[in-house]
């Protein structure tokens, strides 16, 4: 699958180690995300996904390892790195009293983007929310909030977009629409780091996938290559439910079927 990868790493994570007290949450994690690539980071609960993402976002200081966003070190050149990063967090994260327009203006100001009223209208028209411009964020539906969140994540044209379980709680229509938007972002050269619990989603949109478990990356490859290289493993065959091996079977086979807390 070639999606305009230009072999420019927009995210480089090398030998990342994160501890919480004596507990090691992330062990020697290394991966890169290229411009024009959707890179999926998959793992069961407690596998180390959130800690890895928090370190990439600069919210958590790792004990060792390096993280560079668009070439900027997240520690030494924190502001430049964060300015090169667009983030859509899992939880609703905007003041519910502000209107959609006000939230866009707030983040445009924070990222140093000049937007005229016509440009804000254009942005809102693009996500079918022009009629909701004066609505408060707290009054929007889950799908509408996700669209606003995605607009904010890309308002400054970042090299890397980080989407943390963006389709959780969305109906199938909204989910498909978001996939199209992700693909559109890829076409325009953004690198995307996506976390999701939906193997269907990962298989549908990701160019490459890393599976992380117990703080370590256990494999990185394209979805099809992951299926092909693991289809004969007994634990993958055992996880298969319909005869045909899917990415979910590979995921369960590699990480086990035990429910994580």
């Amino acid at each position: 699958m070639d999606h305009h990868h230009n072999n420019t790493a927009v995210l480089q994570v090398e030998d990342l180690n994160v501890y919480y007290g004596a507990v090691q949450a992330v062990r020697n994690v290394s991966f890169t995300v290229q411009a024009g690539e959707i890179f999926g980071l998959l793992g069961p609960n407690g596998a180390g996904k959130t800690s890895t993402l928090s370190a990439v976002e600069g919210l958590l200081r790792p004990q060792s390892g390096t993280i560079r966003v668009a070439g900027y070190s997240i520690r030494e050149e924190s502001k430049q790195a964060r300015a090169s990063l667009g983030v859509q967090l899992q939880a609703t994260s905007f003041q519910p009293e502000l209107t959609v327009t006000e939230i866009i203006q707030l983040y445009a100001g924070i990222y140093g983007v000049s937007l005229t009223k016509q440009q804000v209208d254009g942005v809102l028209s693009n996500i079918n929310l022009r009629d909701a411009a004066a609505k408060r964020f707290g009054q929007l539906s889950g799908g509408q909030q996700q669209r606003v969140s995605l607009v904010i994540a890309t308002i400054h044209d970042p090299e890397l977009v980080l989407l943390d379980e963006p389709t959780t709680g969305l109906d199938p229509q909204s989910r498909r629409q978001l996939w199209v938007r992700m693909e559109s972002m890829r076409e325009k050269g953004h690198g995307i780091l996506l976390t999701t619990h939906s193997m269907e989603e990962a298989e549908a949109v990701c160019d490459r996938i890393a599976i992380i478990d117990h703080g370590q990356i256990i494999t990185i490859d394209t979805p099809q290559a992951l299926i092909d290289s693991n289809r004969d493993k007994p634990e993958v065959i055992q996880a298969s439910r319909k005869g045909k091996i899917t990415l979910e079977d590979v995921f369960i086979g590699l990480t086990g079927s035990t429910i994580r807390s």
Binding site: E57, S93, Q95, V113
Partner: protein, 269 residues
């Protein structure tokens, strides 16, 4: 780079010069954007803000009879102290606890904003609230309680001491929100602290709780704030005790600020 880009569509096409440094907005520009949003959010929550101001206004109106006996400065300073407590404990701490729980701070922190600009913007909004509350009490005191003995200079001095006193309760609110993660628990605890401070402070000041508690209240955050506000409103009343009270007030503010910074976590996990 960005401000010059076309933003006519949601996802603009990347056309970067790889050797060009990404433009970072100035700290002042970021602070201005945050302040505008925080002031808007405060305005939209104006019912809650009015309730915060209403309590000291009602006390001021019901204490009209005490003006002649204890003086306008005594009545006004007690009411201003109650208002400052309400702003710091009920308003500020609860809004910070709620926004932290919703992940609003985390979203801001992954943008190129500094922690100080996020918090300075929040505190500026509270400074505006302190000025509005103090002005309202001065007006109600003048019009309803007929407190006419305070000079213009004393009013100005009163504003300054109200701001210094307000810092005690804002920092105390910060310490509470640092110590407690759950927003509902923050709400309950701040209400409780507010109630205890009002009861012991006001009744202790009036000598209704005995000399020991009266003395303790005098040097409590309630008593020191009340004293500096009272002394500032009365011409020639600033004495050595008022200076010691000012030092104690600043000391409380520094102590609570240090605890608030030490304990505060940006997320609830």
């Amino acid at each position: 780079m960005l401000s010059q880009r076309s933003t006519n569509h949601i996802l603009p096409i990347i056309s970067k010069d790889p050797h060009m440094q990404r433009q970072i907005p100035s700290s002042f520009a970021v602070y201005s954007s945050l302040l505008k949003a925080d002031l808007t959010a405060q305005w939209r929550n104006r019912r809650a803000s009015i309730l915060v101001i209403l309590v000291p206004v009602i006390i001021l109106m019901t204490w009209k009879g005490l003006v002649e006996r204890n003086g306008g400065a005594f009545v006004l300073s007690n009411c201003i102290t109650v208002g400052l407590m309400a702003i710091g404990l009920m308003g500020y701490s609860n809004s910070v606890a709620r926004d932290r729980d919703k992940g609003i701070f985390q979203r801001l922190r992954v943008a190129p904003t500094s922690a100080w600009s996020i918090m300075t913007s929040r505190l500026t909004v509270q400074l505006v609230m302190i000025i509005i509350m103090t002005t309202t009490l001065f007006i109600v005191g003048y019009r309803f309680d007929h407190i006419t003995t305070i000079s213009a200079g004393s009013y100005a001095f009163g504003f300054l001491t109200a701001i210094v006193g307000g810092s005690v309760y804002l920092s105390l609110g910060q310490a509470v929100v640092g110590l407690i993660r759950n927003p509902e628990t923050v709400n309950v605890v701040t209400r409780l602290v507010y109630f205890v401070f009002i009861m012991t402070g006001m009744f202790g000041e009036l000598g209704m709780l005995g000399p020991e508690i009266g003395h303790a209240v005098k040097w409590s955050p309630y008593g020191t704030v009340k004293r500096i506000v009272s002394s500032s409103l009365e011409s020639g009343a600033w004495d050595q005790n008022a200076s010691i009270a000012l030092a104690a007030t600043v000391g409380y503010a520094i102590l609570f600020t240090l605890l608030g910074i030490k304990w505060f976590k940006w997320n609830t996990r």
